[in-house]
């Protein structure tokens, strides 16, 4: 008599919850221990977590599944990735903050590509049989020629054609060109394999997998890695702004103003001001630090910053006013923004009315 495992038991402990506990204990807690004392910043912690997640995902075996086993689905996937690449090259700069959506699309496509090809392109030699070895070697040869010819025609041609094309290449259409280049360098062989593989795929690269602890943890890690920037973006408009400021007397009738405003966690920006202003009883004047070139963010992490105002005026009464306002935007959810203002008001008698 054979016993069959009760199927419902798989659903009593959802993958995510079980894995989340594992991830929290194994990965998040040690990282937090580093982050809390201020050794590292949040984006660095997140980056390390993403790297750990990628390594974990690569350890877990994958199968193409019913859909990606079919050649038409695989070719559609390759076509979609090529389409995103073309879009990013042609209109990359104009996509602005939405470029991140293209990057997320590529990441998602690459994950599916890995499933479709069972990551054959980068599998260790002892995991592939002779036929699979031959298939991936041929795919690399095709990919090499595609990259080589593409480089000669596109990059070299653009570089030497005119100064305008070289400038275009240099700007990379807002970074899209370089992202696409990286995508092709790292994923083109897998794309060729997905395109060429038989219909349907029957060969298995690894033994059948079960719902292991490792897999649960990996699912949770991927979920945390994808959700973290979204949650950070949603929190951007509501998190309190941290301000550090100081006003110190300087030589003569002058004051040195220093302030840094920090907004957001993970998706964050630091806006500084360091200025010197003096007064003579008739009017207050700026010495340095209140010009257009001074209105720049000190540090941005996974955020884009746009200066919306950088204005210095002296009223008829001799009062100096300076306003530096920026809009901090999340690249993951571009409609989530936060306006941060730094103000300085100094009277002709040296009284600080407002700072920052």
């Amino acid at each position: 008599m054979t016993r069959t495992a009760p199927r419902l038991s798989r659903y009593r402990r959802p993958d995510f919850l079980v894995g989340a506990v594992l991830v929290f204990c194994a990965a998040i807690v040690p990282l937090l221990l580093f982050a809390v004392p201020g050794r590292w910043q949040w984006p660095e912690v997140y980056l390390i977590f993403v790297v750990v997640t990628i390594l974990a995902v690569r350890v877990v075996p994958v199968e193409p599944g019913a859909l990606l086993r079919r050649r038409v689905a695989r070719r559609t996937l390759v076509g979609a990735i090529v389409g995103i690449c073309l879009l990013m090259v042609i209109v990359g700069g104009d996509l602005g903050d939405y470029l991140w959506l293209g990057i997320l699309g590529l990441v998602f496509g690459d994950v599916l590509l890995g499933r479709a090809t069972q990551r054959m392109a980068t599998a260790p030699d002892d995991r592939v049989d002779e036929w699979q070895e031959s298939l991936r070697n041929q795919a690399h040869r095709t990919a090499y020629w595609l990259v080589g010819v593409g480089f000669l025609v596109f990059f070299f041609g653009t570089y030497v054609a005119t100064e305008q094309t070289r400038a275009w290449l240099s700007q990379g259409r807002g970074g899209g060109l370089w992202i696409v280049s990286a995508e092709l360098l790292f994923c083109l062989p897998a794309m060729v394999i997905a395109w060429n593989q038989s219909d349907p795929v029957r060969e298995r690269l690894s033994p059948p997998w079960h719902l292991t602890w490792m897999r649960r943890a990996t699912i949770a890690m991927v979920s945390v890695a994808l959700l973290a920037p979204v949650l950070a973006s949603l929190a951007l408009p509501v998190l309190p702004i941290t301000t550090q400021s100081s006003v110190l007397p300087s030589q003569g009738r002058c004051l040195t103003f220093r302030a840094t405003e920090t907004v957001g966690i993970l998706v964050e920006a630091q806006l500084p001001i360091a200025a010197l202003a003096c007064w003579n009883g008739r009017r207050a004047v700026e010495q340095f630090g209140m010009n257009r070139s001074d209105c720049t963010p000190a540090d941005t992490q996974l955020a884009t910053v746009q200066t919306i105002s950088c204005r210095r005026t002296v009223s008829a009464g001799g009062t100096l006013r300076f306003l530096y306002a920026t809009r901090v935007r999340s690249p993951f959810l571009p409609f989530m923004t936060r306006v941060v203002r730094l103000r300085l008001t100094l009277t002709r008698t040296g009284r600080v009315l407002q700072f920052p």
Partner: protein, 308 residues
């Protein structure tokens, strides 16, 4: 192979900052070495499948897989080198953009062209990879034919010389207003960058980097200690970097720049004038030497009169 690899690293690395005109010699040496290796393997990497036996076919395809990975590694190394180079030199955000420079472009071109042959020779060894090595029965003509690609060395050299001599000097300029690196309370400043390149960058490059300020009474240059100080403004604390008139740091890899002259003067109308003159040549046999001039004139109100 090791020598070719070392020469490639020299080409791709940010150190030394300039190859002082020897860039073309490095490129030709790499090509010659790889041709020698390719002749030894019978050019297995470029042979069609029906002209290879099963072993050579497997070797060829495996070589391409490893070559692809090495290409990715090479491009990553090049990117790291570029980042280090920019860090060492200090990136000038308002300079005329050049994505990788001619040295980097040559390094990637060599990677594309030479890696499959080099890897096939490395993993198979010359005798194993050679599809023509068949007990000495191969005809001598076919053996000699495999050295024909060696002609690419003089062809490349001639093309480079002709390009330097015949192609017009290409110029580009960039005006950034206001100057992203300098500002003043009672005046305005702008950054002016221009380059003149021989052979589309595969020759010497001359560069002008001028930070000019004006206040309605006169205009003046701030980033050169030898430039005249403004009469109505008083002495300005000059910043030494970047130098006003220089051959570009990466502009002397494939050629030499000599007799660099840099004149700055403020005329009676308050207009600041900058004139850069230089001789740019291949550095070999004095062929293709060209006279280069860049002029800039900015009025006291910030109007650019000439910038070519």
């Amino acid at each position: 192979m090791a020598l070719a690899g070392a020469l490639w690293l020299l080409l791709a690395s940010p150190v030394p900052e300039s190859l002082n005109g020897w860039g073309i010699a490095v490129v030709l040496a790499i090509v010659a070495l790889v041709v020698a290796v390719g002749a030894g393997t019978g050019w297995v990497a470029f042979r069609r499948a029906h002209r290879l036996d099963e072993f050579s076919l497997g070797l060829r395809d495996r070589a391409y897989r490893l070559a692809f990975r090495m290409f990715v590694l090479g491009v990553v190394l090049l990117g790291v080198g570029l980042a280090v180079s920019q860090g060492l030199r200090g990136e000038i955000t308002w300079a005329v953009p050049d994505p990788v420079g001619a040295r980097g472009m040559a390094a990637v071109l060599l990677l594309v062209a030479c890696l499959p042959t080099s890897v096939a020779a490395w993993i198979g060894g010359a005798d194993e990879a050679d599809p023509l090595a068949d007990g000495g029965r191969v005809r001598a003509g076919r053996r000699r034919g495999r050295w024909l690609p060696l002609l690419s060395v003089p062809v490349l050299f001639t093309a480079w010389l002709m390009g330097g001599a015949l192609l017009p000097v290409s110029g580009a300029s960039e005006v950034t207003l206001p100057d992203p690196g300098f500002a003043m309370s009672n005046g305005h400043c702008g950054a002016f960058a221009a380059t003149e390149q021989v052979a589309r960058g595969f020759g010497p490059t001359v560069r002008l980097l001028a930070q000019v300020c004006w206040n309605g009474r006169e205009a003046w240059v701030i980033n050169d200690p030898g430039a005249p100080t403004p009469r109505y403004f008083g002495p300005v604390s000059s910043r030494m970097e970047p130098a006003l008139c220089t051959p570009a740091n990466d502009g002397t890899d494939f050629g030499l720049v000599s007799r660099v002259g840099c004149q700055v003067w403020i005329d009676r109308a308050g207009t600041v004038n900058v004139r850069l003159t230089a001789h740019a040549g291949s550095g070999l046999l004095g062929i293709g030497r060209k006279w280069i001039q860049i002029t800039l004139a900015v009025t006291r109100t910030g109007r650019v009169l000439t910038f070519t």
